[in-house]
Amino acid sequence: MSDASTVTIEIDGKTLEVKAGVMLIDIADDANIDIPRFCYHRHLTIAANCRMCLVDVENAPKPLPACATPVMDGMKVHTKSARAIAAQKATMEFLLINHPLDCPICDQGGECELQDVAMAYGGDVSRYTEGKRVVKDKDIGPLISTDLTRCIHCTRCIRFGEEIAGLRELGATGRGENMQIGTYIEHAVSSELSGNVIDLCPVGALTAKPSRYSARAWELNQYPSIAAHDCIGSHLSVHTFRSDTNRIVPIENSEINECWLSDRDRFSYKGLTSRDRLLKPMIKMDGQWRETDWQTALEKTFAAMQDTIRNYGADQIGVLASPNSTLEELYLLKKLTSNIDCFNFDHRLRQLDFSHQDQAPMIPTLGSSITDLESLDSVLLIGSNISKEQPMLGIRLRKAQKKGAKICQINHRVYDLRMPCEVGIAAHYRNLVLELAAVAKALNIDSSLLPHAANTLFVQAQILEKHSQIAEILKNGEKSHVILGNQAISSPYYSLVEIFARAIATSCNCLFGYLTDGANATGAWLTGAIPHRDYNGASQKTAGLNAQSMLEQPRNLYLLHNIEIDYDCADPVTALSAVASSDFVVCMTPYVSSDMQNYADILLPISPYLETSGTFINIEGRVQTFAGASKLKNSEARPAWKIIRVLGNYFDIDGFEFNSSKEILEEIERTIGEFKGDNTATITEATALADKEDVIYRCSEVNMYHSDSIVRRSEPLQNTPEAKEDRIHINADLAKKLNLERATQVLVKHGNKTIAMHLAIDDTVANDCAWTSFATATSKKLGPMYGVIELEAD
């Protein structure tokens, strides 16, 4: 902004020194002067189509819309003058002409912008005696219910789709009296951010389907909490009716989620009341499941652990915890396991390559703040479908892209990131390493710094146009970022991917960061929920087995915390056979499944997210504590930290005297103290790349609506087209090679498993690659997320 940027204006007699060119409505909002509005939203572009914000500007021939009138020096504005009020009342009367009087049965009633403004500006009697327009409701999917007769055509939902979500699905078709909001061709909206239009809609035209007709706004209690399904930690408000969660809405936080929330975070709560909930501790006796009391269950758990330690050694215990566990739970689990000399403790359930874990930074972080992503000039996303995996970051990158940032991706599929992508390379997991080596070569990095395994690849790498383009884009950006996404971390060549990614970042002076699985992977690293390090990255006397080895070399006893082993691990088949062959399996779980009943011996019901208190550390390293909000009726579930505390007491370990999760957090703060989210590391250990073969490489992306046990049980999310995506995707070239061009179903052989899957021919997929959605009922029957498979017509 130039210097001559301040002007003096007067609103309602109040003199204000303000920035020139800013819209009147923003100035008035900052000065707490109330101007009614519907179409204006500070995060969306200006439409000025509702006319509700008309104000009286001196010397202007007509009232002007405050949302679209930039301030000018000497401007005198009256928001409450007779002319302003007359204009606003007239607008209100027009808006109410076609609006139905169905407030008593409208979900928006009580929190409706139209109701509120009508109270102030509406007439008490309608002068309109003609017929009102009626608009047929549309089915736009399981998340949003439509009552389009109520629509006042503010177009916020349309602008949101185009500007924020990057996916234009809703539109205004027809004109004049016949204008309607909808998808025109009826289909379920597919945006991962679609639920935000519910908040944006100023009337009851778009409301939340899962909570429809279930409570009135004024009957709800609200509790602040933190979202638990990705590493962002969006702020949200849990609205409860009696003790049930009725709905979830975002809490504005400009540094994290602004005023948005992903559909996954908004609608996952429906999984909390699933019929699969485990209500009481259960114990398997002679192959039969019996309900039991907490004391018996915990004593049995302790006795089983002691038996294993006595007979086989603590090394025969394997402890796996979800990356969605709270900091407190993980801290206590670490304290418990290390005190009994068991180091087989891990949270990296969807990881396959651990070869460089000793050289990893203390905690994985994004390498910048979330807001800083907006000011990037260029980004290279490696193994990341950021718009679906971390929708809030997708929004930030989209903003950067609109300001001119260049987005590049190297993925198994060229993903639709809901924004234009400068360079997109599709490569299966083996070739992805080679593509990175070629980009590194195009940057002329000092190859002597590369470890041997990487150096040979570097020497062989062939630089093509696309590699040079990415190199140029990263080099030319003043502020660039190389990001390793969830799929890079779960790659069987994670170490090589990271070596090249770091080399590229260093050579271009880029930021470097990770996007991790679950809500609290950063916290898990910090509290030592890893087999090779203690709290805060400190060394420990011996290294235990990592998540994958623990399953490849079955242990005698498993303690599973908040996971479903056949969905949450990178290799479901191996995982299931490991727990099946073990002597004893303890599941601390909010849910019970039939598979779990087969492999478990004791089921301890824990309070899931929203019912327990705790702390998550997000990918920026931001520590966020939350309290429980709701409670399931008739459930004896306990917070997991209390269960671990009792086990600690049984083992007679000092320092297990906690009365609240807050006390645990205080101890963590004392023990760990300040920590730095520093991503610096030198990686030299790597898994060698297998030789090139003429085979099909399977690559997977965790389906965003199957990412954890709560989400998998949320009925509305499971009814979305996205959740049902369960096909194997190959490109047309591969289909031709395999003679599958006309096939709709194929037999997929992975390891010793063969299953039938639907086929999708999809040219976004890399050559010789078969892409599948992971953590679904189909994928759990196949082998690991990545691997060589065979395909034939069914």
Partner: protein, 164 residues
């Protein structure tokens, strides 16, 4: 996946759309949407369908809904089959004062169809339209690109008989 435009219309039509695209800056391809819709509509016997609109969207890199918005906004785009001769009768104020309702009645009786319908032989359809800017000759109608003014039932018979 939707079909590409070149699978749906003749290469001549595609070339014509491309000509329109070339009239606008390269990054503003969507400016050609109205012309493109008109071209594909003409080629399809006077009306659009979803496949064609999707084809146009794909060709111009536009979201489908953005094309549906345009196609549903303007009255010259048809979404249902029309007759070979689409008789557009103005029913705005000047024509109405001068008896356009009677003209419409006459046409309906003559062809045995209502407004928005097509004769069995597919030759004629009637459409009510807003002011075409020929108030001086009210009541008026438009068939194809021709305006016919100062209409009377007798005059209509002559006009219709004159159509091939």
């Amino acid at each position: 996946m939707s079909k590409s435009l070149s699978q749906l219309v003749s290469s001549k039509a595609v070339a014509e759309v491309e000509l329109w695209i070339s009239k606008y800056p390269a990054e503003q391809k969507q400016s050609a949407v109205m012309a493109a819709l008109r071209i594909v509509q003409d080629e399809n016997g006077g009306y659009l369908n979803r496949e064609l609109m999707d084809g146009v969207a794909g060709f111009l890199d536009m979201p489908f809904i953005a094309v549906y918005e345009v196609a549903s906004f303007y009255s010259m785009y048809e979404h249902n089959p029309v007759g070979k001769y689409k008789i557009c009768v103005c029913n705005s104020i000047s024509c109405m004062i001068n008896g356009s309702e009677k003209i419409i009645d006459y046409l309906e009786k003559k062809f045995g169809i209502g407004v928005g319908e097509v004769t069995k032989d597919g030759r004629f359809s009637i459409k009510e339209v807003e002011c075409l800017g020929a108030c001086v000759g009210a009541p008026m109608m438009m068939i194809g690109k021709e305006y016919y003014e100062d209409l009377t039932p007798e005059k209509i018979d002559i006009i219709i008989d004159g159509l091939k």
